[in-house]
């Protein structure tokens, strides 16, 4: 295939313990470490491996958001992507609008394959890949743990609740990736230097002619109701007694 498009979302780093703002207007993101959504890193790693096997010619990373997202695109270029596109917008974008933006990029680039993370670890929505596939009228293979190509057909193994399901899909297609697909490479310093010379194009949302989707409004944020710390028992006899006391054994 010719081109693979990979989405990289800038999110609060996996290791940050997210706090809700005291006024309930959102979560604290000021001064918080931001990173590539971990699932998107796996998506990019897979695209790079496909290219390194000689099964694709170009890997394009795309992010949607404020200019800060250039950092994540530069990291993607340092990992090995050939070029980057930032769709610049200051408004928070919902899943369907993001899917429409990706559709516009896919059309512009005549992409053969789009690989995305199965969910972003901020909104935990798990929608964008499926929505892109829907409006593109192309196959979706979500939660992928193995991808094998045979010409213009991909065999994708998916992690489902009852085990592993395999689908055969015709390209072009959308694949969303799960944790077990691969382990993303570490970026080396020389690659970071090289990445600075790679093309990073900025496109404004207006240029893409994307109609915004109906918005689901987020009205209030709250911390979750915590569970109370319970009792400690000294030994197995104590544990069995406590379980019997609750009628659980």
């Amino acid at each position: 295939m010719e081109k693979i498009v990979v989405g990289l979302k800038r999110v609060v780093d996996y290791n940050v313990r997210v706090q809700v703002k005291s006024d309930g207007s959102g979560v604290e993101t000021d001064g918080v470490k931001m990173s590539i959504n971990p699932f998107d890193e796996i998506a990019l790693e897979e695209a790079l491996r496909i290219k390194e096997r000689g099964e694709a010619n170009e890997v394009i990373v795309v992010s949607i958001g404020a200019s800060d997202a250039q950092q994540q695109l530069r990291t993607g270029l340092a990992m090995g992507a050939d070029r980057a596109i930032l769709v610049e917008t200051d408004t928070a974008t919902d899943a369907l609008t993001v899917a429409r933006i990706f559709k516009a990029i896919v059309d512009r680039e005549s992409a053969d394959l789009v690989i995305l993370g199965k969910q972003a670890i901020d909104d935990d929505n798990s929608q964008t890949g499926q929505m892109l596939a829907a409006i593109w009228d192309r196959p979706q293979a979500t939660f992928a743990s193995e991808i094998v190509f045979d010409g213009s057909v991909a065999k994708v193994t998916r992690e489902v609740d009852s085990g592993l399901e395999t689908l055969e899909i015709d390209l072009p297609a959308v694949i969303t990736v799960d944790l077990r697909l691969n382990e993303p490479r570490y970026v080396k310093l020389p690659d970071i230097m090289k990445a600075k010379k790679k093309p990073l194009d900025t496109v404004s949302l207006g240029e893409l002619d994307v109609s915004p989707a109906p918005q689901i409004r987020e009205t209030e944020f709250k911390p979750p109701e915590g569970r109370q710390r319970g009792v400690m028992v000294d030994d197995v006899a104590g544990l069995v007694a406590a379980l019997k006391d609750k009628g659980l054994v």
Binding site: V20, D124, Q127, Q130, M131, R138, A141, G163, L164, G230
Partner: protein, 313 residues
């Protein structure tokens, strides 16, 4: 008028309990009608099960060979055709629903409300974000259909006792041929299903190997429990991926959850926070799992777990 269409999850023979949980959520919305759509190859048995769920108005079936087994790209256009006239379309927040429902939403031109954990009004819901570190109240637009997934761990299944009408639906939809089912490999196990089990015994990285994980299976079998795991245990190859509990695995709410050798990262805790009783067994008394455990025991799991299994036999 609030009319809700619930998309049934099933394997061709049995209705998945996630369907009755979606019906429970739909009942909270206060709908005049709750219809259940059953799509499959031959669905009479599954439809009969759905008709028993309290609160269901009608069961609408649609049979065609391509619908067995379920493939999201094939089901979605048919569901869109069936969704006409409904104010809400609900599916479960399981692998089935997570795959299918956003495709339905996009075809209907709306965003999806993912993982409803409670209902505040016909268009107002609460859902978890950031691995459950925050709960957000959301309001879907009133002038378009609401497509949503229901966080199954937040709902008790609506009980049986009904005998709703079963009708065959006329569905005019073109289905694609670009996506083909090849196979489903299930971990052959006689143990209860992780999603629906009343008791779950989970093991973490501290087990150390696939062989040593055996003590978890023995305890689970003694209790009649399902087996779960932490992401670390799956990544290390001790257990298959479908056992993973947490933000990126399965979200469950058993009556009893026993976490063994699991430190309790927030991503794991978010998968069990609705459990009835959480028991933690860990050698590190500082492990965060003890912050949420109802009963904690500090000790060497390789001594404690066999002793516990023995004590319960």
């Amino acid at each position: 008028m609030t009319k809700i269409l619930v998309i049934a999850e099933h394997n061709g023979a049995a209705l998945n309990p996630s369907t009755a949980k979606c019906v429970a959520c739909a009942a909270d919305v206060g709908a005049s009608d709750i219809d259940v759509a059953v799509l499959g190859g031959s669905v009479a048995d599954v439809a009969a099960q759905a008709a028993q769920i309290n609160g269901v108005s009608r069961v609408l079936t649609h049979e065609r060979p391509e619908n067995d087994p379920a493939v999201a790209a094939i089901l979605a256009p048919q569901i869109v055709a069936m969704a006409d006239g409904y104010s809400h379309v609900f599916g479960p927040s399981t692998a089935f629903g997570k795959d299918l429902m956003p495709r339905v939403a996009a075809l209907l031109g709306v965003n999806q409300v993912s993982d409803i954990m409670s209902v505040d009004g016909s268009h107002s819901f609460k859902r978890p974000i950031y691995a459950g570190n925050a709960i957000v109240s959301v309001e879907a637009p009133k002038d378009s259909v609401v497509v949503a997934t229901v966080r199954t761990a937040s709902y008790q299944a609506a009980e049986d006792g009904n005998s709703a009408a079963v009708e065959s639906a006329a569905v005019d939809a073109e289905i694609p041929t670009h996506t083909r089912f090849v196979e489903l490999k299930t971990g052959a196990s006689d143990r209860p299903d992780l999603q629906t089990a009343a008791k779950v015994v989970s093991g973490g990285r501290a087990l150390g190997s696939e062989e040593k994980f055996e003590i978890i299976y023995k305890l689970a079998d003694q209790l009649g429990a399902a087996v779960g795991s932490s992401r670390a245990a799956v990544d290390a190859g001790y257990v298959p991926p479908e056992t993973q509990v947490g933000q990126t695995g399965q979200i469950i709410a058993p009556d009893l959850y026993i976490a063994i050798g699991i430190s309790g990262a927030i991503q794991h805790i978010t998968g069990i926070k609705d459990a009835g009783t959480i028991v933690a067994i860990n050698k590190d008394e500082e492990a965060p799992i003890f912050e949420v455990a109802d009963i904690g025991l500090v000790g060497d799991l390789f001594a404690v777990v066999p002793e516990l299994t023995e004590a319960l036999s």
